[in-house]
Amino acid sequence: MKNVLNTKDVVKVLKIIAKRIEENKDYITDLDAILGDGDHWANMNMGYQKIVSIEEELLELNLADLFKKVGMTLMSTIGGSSGVLYGDAFITAHKSLIGVEEMDKFKIHEVLDSGLNAMMKRGNAKPGDKTMIDTLYQAVKAYKESLDNNDEFEITINKMVKAAEEGMESTKEMEAAKGRAFYRTDKGVGHIDPGAVTMYYQIQELAQYIML
């Protein structure tokens, strides 16, 4: 169990996420082929592989610069809707990390929350719109409630992952209000949103790393 995360930790988590995404090509591609234009896996994979390829450079950076660099890199490499959403999330989050050497559980919440808010603002989306927001929103909400509850950090992390999973699953029965699935006559009902899934992978891998 880790209590704080520094640059080295964050880079490690990013590498683990890259691997997780790489391994789930068909599932994610199929989901976006059904609900969107089928490129979500390719977009995310390209972005995270790029992150892996600049590992050395990232390890030299302080946390704030790391987040900014990761944001800029994801933004330009992922492209499309998710590129700018992740880019904005990381770039916005970097502001709360200026001068910070290590993130404790409160900082981690602040970072996740500012990323969530950036995404919601950028995408003009809210929970229930059948997007990646549904995963992150539930995760951040559960995290916050657990913090307010003064739970053990391990419990907080567990609650976060569980909420993220529920958020992801909940997109299945939602009607799309944002993204391309909106243009389908059935509004995508019956299918999980691909962006909600890749968001879940990231939260889950972060949690798992912290719990080690």
């Binding site: 234009d37 933004m75 330009s76 809707s81 700018v84 904005d88 995408g123």
Partner: protein, 328 residues
């Protein structure tokens, strides 16, 4: 799929190299896929537009004196990322700020707005306008709403002329917004287009079927119907436009736009029918544009665009443009 391409992955960059080689007035910034003017005028408001590729001559063909300063290309039918757009903004900026002309697609909106935020961190004054001229889709606050299609070209033209005349960012934005407020379009498609990277059509239409209101990426329209005469197509499209906006007893600019593979012959036949209808309704046509202005690869079909003009807009529409996509 038979296309004059090399690798599907390289179509955008090779196209932009080809544009740079054809047009001595522009320069291509590789990697960020930006085409910008070679000659800059100090303290002119910069105009940037862009979006997915596959809509040629939009957007790189509208870079030139009297229209855009820079055009930013994404991959085929995919929004460019904010870093690319930022480069476009930087190239277009000559001290008087930059106006972004965005078509109303959520990807474009997010990426252009993000780029705006990045540019403002660099202390460049940036404003945006969003074009949503396609009356096929109902406007709504719930979803992204109406799409931006061929009417965007009029926004480039009007804002471009205004900027060239030395107006401020505020004024240029106002002229662009006035154009947006007064422009409406309606389209139809007859055959699909093929994304180079996909290699097969994204939808199918019977040999006897057309889709009224289909978008410029093959997004669903409002009705699949059996094929009709040019006169009937004209009636359907014009009616839908006039139902949405009252152009009666006004003077308009008319654009008859081809989606890519519809011959000019057919666009002129459609023009004849559309103008007959408008004349009957007492709508006066001030200027007509017939051609491929906002395409969807090799889709066949067309769109009709009306822009209501006042004296200011007439003057700006008549202003010289040296952009290869729309010479005035």
């Amino acid at each position: 799929m038979k296309k004059i391409i090399n690798q599907p992955d390289n179509v955008v960059s090779e196209m932009l190299m080809g544009i740079e080689k054809a047009n001595p007035d522009v320069v291509y910034h590789s990697g960020v896929e930006v085409i910008s003017r070679k000659q800059k005028k100090d303290n002119k408001v910069g105009l940037v537009s862009g979006g997915g590729s596959g809509h040629e001559p939009a957007h790189a063909g509208y870079v030139g004196y009297g229209m855009l300063d820079a055009a930013v290309s994404g991959n085929v039918f995919a929004s460019p990322s904010p870093d690319r757009i930022l480069k476009g903004i930087q190239e277009a900026d000559s001290g008087a700020g930059v106006l972004l002309i965005i078509k109303n697609y959520s990807g474009d909106i997010m990426n252009f707005n993000m780029a705006k935020d990045l540019a403002q961190m660099d202390d460049i004054k940036v404003e945006t306008v969003v074009v949503k001229d396609d009356v096929a889709v109902e406007e709504s606050t719930y979803s992204t709403g109406r799409r931006g299609i061929a009417g965007t070209v009029f926004v480039h033209k009007i804002a471009g002329a205004k900027a060239e005349k030395g107006a401020s960012l505020e004024e240029v934005k106002e002229a662009a917004q006035k154009t947006i407020d007064n422009v409406r379009s309606m389209g139809m498609a007859m055959t699909p287009c093929i994304l180079p990277a996909v290699g097969k059509p994204g939808f199918e239409l019977d040999d006897n079927e057309v889709e009224i209101g289909m978008g410029i990426h093959g997004e669903p329209g409002i009705e699949r119907t059996s094929k009709k005469t040019a006169k009937e197509y004209a009636e359907i499209m014009v009616k839908k436009i006039l139902d949405d906006y009252d152009y009666s007893s006004s003077e308009v600019a008319l654009m008859i736009n081809g989606l890519g593979s519809t011959p000019l012959m057919e666009l002129y036949i459609l023009n004849n029918e559309v103008q007959n209808i408008l004349k009957d309704k007492g709508i006066k046509i001030y200027k007509t544009f017939v051609g491929n202005y906002m395409t969807a690869l090799e889709m066949s079909g067309c769109s009709v665009t009306l822009l209501k003009l006042d004296d200011e807009l007439k003057d700006l529409l008549d202003f010289e443009s040296k952009a290869p996509g729309m010479r005035v």
